[in-house]
Symmetry: C2
């Protein structure tokens, strides 16, 4: 017991004893065992992070924000990658819970539509904060951008600044919040400007380059009524895939088809025709999510809230500017 007190620098230990203990600990190469400490304190000072896709550059940047905040508050991070598979996400969350992480930061994967799993763990007392891909009305806070509004804005940019009227959308999966919201924003913009929605021109992709490529090919091969004069992609990787398809069809950007994305991927400004997009502040999103989670963990009365980080339009030349 005295050893424990000395090592934790409590004041009711004789200074000499303290020194003796410390010297001995040092010479033994003693390292405190947080596993044992956690067992009694019921706290691990550990956060579980579940991301859907570690290669999409957006997420590492979010993780960096999370890491920075966690570091300052002395939390360690368990990182898990669900690879866009809900089964794997679920497994990860279960493992993380059995590791007794103090809280969970989750960006959900795209292969599910049933939120009961999340509900049950939240009811079971898990502290959860969602980020980017949110799940609402489920008793957990969420940090994201205003996807719907941002999507509307960038679509309106195409309409008002350039006069495009034949605008297609390469959407995300409708099971995921950002997929649904961004499609909705696109529709809002059309409606606000009295443009008719052509359902044929809403093609579902997922979130990666190859799915953008495939969706664009599909769109171009609809043929008959010609191709759209502008495309709103659900995110930058999808836009990048689509650009490849457009080029392969011998069309040029932005003259034949303008295109815009969402995210502001690290590559977007470097393309031959730099991509106009919505910049999502990934690092800041990570910071906010981590701060909120730590707040929920450490303060009983923390409230559930939806935190929005502001986006900005990055106007580059792919929209015709």
């Amino acid at each position: 017991m005295t050893v424990s007190r000395a090592l934790n620098d409590r004041d009711n230990v004789d200074e000499k004893t303290k020194q003796r203990v410390r010297n001995k600990a040092e010479s033994m190469g003693y390292t405190p065992n947080r596993v044992a400490k956690s067992l009694v304190s019921r706290k691990t000072h550990t956060l579980g992070v579940v991301i859907p896709e570690i290669t999409h550059a957006f997420f590492p940047e979010v993780v960096r924000g999370i890491e920075e905040v966690a570091y300052k508050s002395d939390y360690q991070l368990f990182l898990t990658n669900a690879n866009e598979l809900f089964s794997r996400e679920k497994e990860a969350i279960e493992t993380l819970r059995s590791q007794r992480v103090d809280g969970l930061l989750i960006s959900s994967s795209l292969t599910h539509e049933d939120y009961s799993f999340y509900e049950s763990i939240i009811e079971g007392g898990a502290k959860v904060v969602f980020f980017d891909r949110c799940i609402e009305d489920i008793g957990a806070s969420c940090v994201s951008v205003n996807d719907r509004e941002s999507s509307q804005k960038i679509t309106e940019h195409l309409i008002t600044e350039h006069g495009y009227t034949q605008i297609a959308h390469l959407s995300g999966p409708q099971k995921v919040s950002i997929g649904k919201e961004r499609l909705q924003g696109y529709k809002d913009a059309l409606e606000a400007h009295n443009l008719e929605l052509n359902e044929e021109w809403v093609i579902q992709a997922e979130f990666k380059e190859d799915t953008g490529y495939d969706a664009m090919i599909k769109l171009l091969e609809k043929g008959r009524e010609g191709h759209p004069d502008a495309v709103v992609a659900v995110n930058d990787p999808v836009a990048i895939g689509a650009i490849e398809a457009i080029k392969e069809h011998g069309l040029t950007i932005p003259d034949d088809i303008a295109i815009v994305g969402f995210t502001d991927d690290i590559r977007s400004s470097l393309l031959d025709v730099p991509l106009t997009t919505v910049r999502q502040p990934a690092y800041e999103m990570g910071e906010q999510a981590a701060e909120k989670l730590i707040n929920v963990i450490e303060d009983e009365d923390a409230t559930v809230e939806k935190i929005e980080v502001p986006t900005t339009l990055k106007i580059r030349s792919s929209c015709g500017c």
Copy 2:
């Protein structure tokens, strides 16, 4: 005890009892406590990963490889970012050790030159595998590319394929293996072709864009004897920074100055003048490192080895091709 046996599906439990236990566990929302399990088993099934810079796209890709292997072998990952600060790296490693991770995967940061810390933890029984930035002769395995040879090859490409003779090097910090090795490879190439080494044309950068930019500015402002006709950068981010500096000086690539990198960053093929570089298979490096570490953890007789993953030259147009 019977409960424990039932939950772990041991065979010396009555089938009916097993069922009863399981039903009850289920209905209670019971989750096994790995913390307690770890305390007795002295195993956490946990790996600590220490990377120097989470934003350099190379590392997330390595982490993905690590994650994939860890997942298959049922290990969880603690991710820490040292931000190129040795102090922070040391702190991270100490925390990880007190978390009782079963092993450590480390890519060391650039602000130190004293390996005694690593030595002491390895002597203290920690299982360590280094990756990318290695520390040798210290009793730990290491997974990396053959930096020296690869650097020599790409430098020789400039010499033999294009006839450049005035070749500069934007080097990495000499305290870090890859900084030293790549400089050495550059020198080897010059020597092999009887080109004189101009020490003035070896400028030290670090590993990020801004340091490449600064180093290139320095190089261009040496003025007097004109500028080099080719530059070998220690990695792609440094090359990308340097390219900006070259452009600002009104010079064109590759006509005025050719440039090559190392890494094959996700951006490199997308630049207006796509960057010739050495492709390092990041994902595979992560896989190999994780496999080796798990091997060291689970097999007493695992040997210390230096594992090299092969590189390939990515010839694009920045070298004049």
